[in-house]
C-alpha cells in the first residue's frame, strides 16, 4: 500500500498476506507508523490497496465502489477508532442505536437492543447524555457498544485503549472479550501496548509495513 505520489510517496504496507478465521480475537501490535491503521483500513474496506487483494467474509473488495463498500460495512463490520468516535450531536443511546437505524431494524427492537447493551456496560443512566458529558473511558465503551449493536461479523478496533489509563483500558478490554465470546464476532485490534495485545488469542507483530511474526 503506497501513500502519496512521486517524491512524497511512502510505502505503508508491503508483502502482507494474512487470513483471519471467524470468531478469532486477533491483536496486531506495532509502533507508531508501522502500518497498523493502514492494515485495518484495508481490511475494513475503508480504502483500496495499491496492489493485491482484500477479501472480507469471502467477498473481494477490490473494485467495489464506495456505496457497495458502505453497504457491506453496514451489515457486517463494526469499527472503533482511537478517539473521537461518537457523533457529538447524538445522545449516547442514539449513537448506539445508529447502526440499527441504518440496517432498518424496527424501533421496538432497536430500543430493547440499546437498553441491553447500555446495561451490559453499566451506562443506562447516561443514555440521554451527549458524548461531551462522558469521560474518555465511557466514550470508548459507548463506541464499542455501537460497533457491536448490529451484531456484525467482524469488529475492527484501532488502538481503542491508547487514550485510557490502565484501569479503564482493562474494563474496556473485558467488554470486548465478553462480546467476542457471546456474540461470536471476529475481533481485530491494533495496539502498541503488549499488555493489551496479550488479551487476544492470536497476536501479530507489524514492523515497517510488514508482518514480523505471530506470537
Amino acid at each position: 500500500m503506497i501513500y502519496g505520489q512521486d517524491s512524497t510517496c511512502s510505502l505503508a504496507l508491503r508483502d502482507i498476506s494474512l487470513t483471519i478465521s471467524p470468531a478469532e480475537f486477533v491483536s496486531i501490535m506495532g509502533t507508531s507508523g508501522s502500518g497498523k491503521t493502514t492494515l485495518l483500513s484495508l481490511a475494513a474496506g475503508l480504502c483500496h490497496p495499491t496492489s493485491g487483494r482484500v477479501e472480507l467474509l469471502g467477498r473481494d473488495l477490490t473494485g467495489l465502489r464506495e456505496g457497495a463498500l458502505a453497504r457491506l460495512r453496514r451489515r457486517h463490520v463494526g469499527f472503533v477508532f482511537q478517539t473521537l468516535n461518537l457523533m457529538p450531536a447524538m445522545t449516547v443511546a442514539q449513537n448506539v442505536e445508529l447502526p440499527l437505524v441504518i440496517t432498518g431494524q424496527p424501533a421496538l427492537q432497536r430500543a430493547s437492543r440499546v437498553q441491553l447493551l447500555l446495561h451490559l456496560a453499566g451506562l443506562e443512566d447516561k443514555a440521554q447524555a451527549y458524548p461531551g458529558a462522558l469521560s474518555n473511558g465511557q466514550q470508548q465503551q459507548v463506541a464499542v457498544l455501537r460497533a457491536v449493536a448490529h451484531r456484525p461479523d467482524i469488529i475492527f478496533l484501532d488502538e481503542p485503549t491508547s487514550s485510557l489509563d490502565s484501569e479503564r483500558a482493562s474494563v474496556l478490554l473485558d467488554l470486548i472479550a465478553f462480546l467476542n465470546r457471546t456474540e461470536s464476532s471476529t475481533v481485530i485490534l491494533t495496539t502498541h501496548d503488549p499488555i493489551v495485545a496479550d488479551r487476544a488469542s492470536r497476536r501479530l507483530h507489524i514492523r515497517d509495513g510488514a508482518l514480523a511474526g505471530t506470537f
Binding site: A44, E66, A70, L72, R74, F81, M87, T91, E97, V101
Partner: protein, 399 residues
C-alpha cells in the same frame, strides 16, 4: 428509489430528530443563517403585500376616474326597476359603491345659433361625488345638476360660448327640446369625452343605462361581473377594469413581474450566504462524515442528511420570516396605511387620495417562503456533494 427505501428502512423520524439536535448544537453559527433568511423572507412578504396595496390604490384611483372596477351598459326598457336594482347591487358585500347613469346624445343650442353635439350623462350628484373624481374637475360653478340644470364640459361650453348662469336648449333625436340652465363648467379631458355634459338622473325608455361599480378588491372584479350577469338584463354588456383600463393592466403586470424578479434576486443573494456557511460547516464536520461512512452510510445518504438539515433550518427561518412579515403588515394596517400622496403628488393616481394599504395574499406569503427554501436547498447542494465525496481515510485523520 434506493435512498428513499434506505431512509424508510432507517426511520426518517430518527434522522429528523438528529438533524434538529445537530442544528441546536451549532446554534451560534446556525442563527446567522436563520436570522438572515428570516429577515429576507419578512422583507419580501412585506414588499409583496405593499406592492399589492400600491396596485390596489392605483387601480382604485384609476377606476374612480370614470367606469369603476366593473361597468355594465344596456338599453333601458323598464326604468321603474332601476331604484330596486341599485339597492340590490349596493347590498352585495364586495361592492363599495355604485353609480347609475343614463346616456343619451343630443344637440345643444345657445342663443339660437351656436350649436354643439353633446353626450349627456344623467347622474345622481350625491352618488357621483362618492363614486368618481368628476366633482373635483370643475372649472367654474358647481357640480350637482338638479332637474332643469346642466354641467357642461369645457369643449362644449367653449363651442357654445356659454358660462355658468347661461341657458342652453337641448334638442333630442325624439324631436323634443328642453331648456336647461348651465350651473357649472367641467374639465372634460379627465372624463375622456370632449362632448361631455351632465344632467340630473332622469331615465327614459331607450336611454342607454350604465352602472359603474367600485369594489373592495380589484381581484374580485371577475366574480362581481359574474354575479351581475344574473342580476342585469341579458342584453347588458359587462366589462371589468382589466378591459376598461388595459394600459393600467399592463403596468400592473409589469409591477408583478418586477416583484417576482426581486424575490429571485434576494433568493440568489441568500443562496450565496447559505452556500458559503454550509461549506464551512462541512469542513468542520469532516470527521463526523468519515465516521458515518465507516458505519455504513452511503455518500448519497450523507448528502441527503446535510440537505435535510438545511431544509429544516431554512424552512423554520422562512416560516418565522413569513410571520414577521405578516406582523409588519398588520402594524402598518393598524396605523392606517402609508400615505404616498405627498411623495408622489405629481402622479394623479397616487395624489387622488387614500393611503396605500398593504394586502396579504397567499402568493405574497408562499412565494418568498418557497424561494428561500428552494435557494437554500440548491445552495447546499454543492457542499452536500463535497461532504459525500469525503475520503473516509482522510476524514478519520482529522481531529
Amino acid at each position: 428509489m434506493r435512498v428513499i427505501s434506505q431512509v424508510q428502512a432507517g426511520n426518517w423520524t430518527f434522522w429528523v430528530r438528529v438533524a434538529g439536535q445537530s442544528l441546536r448544537r451549532r446554534l451560534s453559527k446556525g442563527k446567522i443563517m436563520f436570522a438572515g433568511t428570516a429577515f429576507s423572507v419578512a422583507l419580501l412578504v412585506f414588499l409583496q403585500a405593499f406592492l399589492n396595496g400600491v396596485n390596489d390604490l392605483v387601480i382604485h384611483n384609476a377606476a374612480r376616474f370614470r367606469d369603476g372596477h366593473v361597468a355594465a351598459w344596456w338599453q333601458a326598457k323598464d326604468v321603474e326597476e332601476l331604484g330596486a336594482l341599485a339597492q340590490r347591487l349596493r347590498s352585495l358585500p364586495e361592492i363599495e359603491t355604485v353609480a347609475l347613469r343614463t346616456m343619451r346624445q343630443g344637440i345643444l343650442r345657445h342663443d339660437g345659433t351656436a350649436l354643439a353635439p353633446a353626450d349627456l350623462y344623467g347622474i345622481d350628484p350625491a352618488s357621483e361625488r362618492n363614486f368618481s373624481f368628476v366633482s373635483g374637475w370643475m372649472m367654474g360653478g358647481r357640480f350637482d345638476p338638479g332637474p332643469g340644470e346642466i354641467v357642461l364640459g369645457h369643449v362644449v361650453a367653449g363651442t357654445l360660448g356659454v358660462t355658468a348662469g347661461d341657458t342652453v336648449e337641448l334638442l333630442l333625436s325624439t324631436g323634443t327640446s328642453t331648456s336647461l340652465r348651465v350651473i357649472g363648467i367641467l374639465d372634460a379631458s379627465q372624463w375622456g369625452d370632449p362632448y361631455t355634459a351632465f344632467t340630473n338622473f332622469d331615465p327614459a325608455p331607450n336611454d342607454t343605462l350604465e352602472v359603474a361599480i367600485l369594489i373592495t378588491s380589484p381581484d374580485q372584479a371577475d366574480a362581481v361581473a359574474s354575479r351581475l350577469k344574473g342580476i342585469l338584463p341579458e342584453s347588458a354588456r359587462i366589462e371589468t377594469w382589466r378591459g376598461l383600463l388595459g394600459r393600467l393592466m399592463e403596468l400592473v403586470q409589469i409591477s408583478n413581474a418586477a416583484s417576482v424578479l426581486t424575490v429571485a434576486l434576494v433568493a440568489l443573494i441568500l443562496a450565496f450566504g447559505i452556500s458559503s456557511m454550509t461549506f464551512v460547516s462541512v469542513a468542520e464536520r469532516t470527521r463526523e462524515f468519515g465516521i458515518l461512512k465507516t458505519i455504513g452510510i452511503t455518500p448519497l445518504w450523507i448528502a441527503c442528511l446535510l440537505l435535510c438539515e438545511t431544509a429544516l433550518l431554512i424552512g423554520a427561518a422562512a416560516v418565522a420570516g413569513v410571520l414577521l412579515g405578516v406582523g409588519a403588515v398588520r402594524v402598518i394596517l393598524l396605523a392606517g396605511g402609508v400615505n404616498m400622496s405627498g411623495l408622489f403628488h405629481y402622479l394623479p393616481l397616487f395624489a387622488s387620495g387614500g393611503p396605500v394599504m398593504p394586502r396579504l395574499t397567499l402568493p405574497a406569503m408562499l412565494l418568498p417562503l418557497l424561494a428561500a427554501l428552494f435557494s437554500g436547498l440548491v445552495a447546499s447542494l454543492l457542499p452536500s456533494l463535497k461532504a459525500a465525496r469525503i475520503s473516509v481515510v482522510e476524514a478519520l485523520r482529522t481531529l
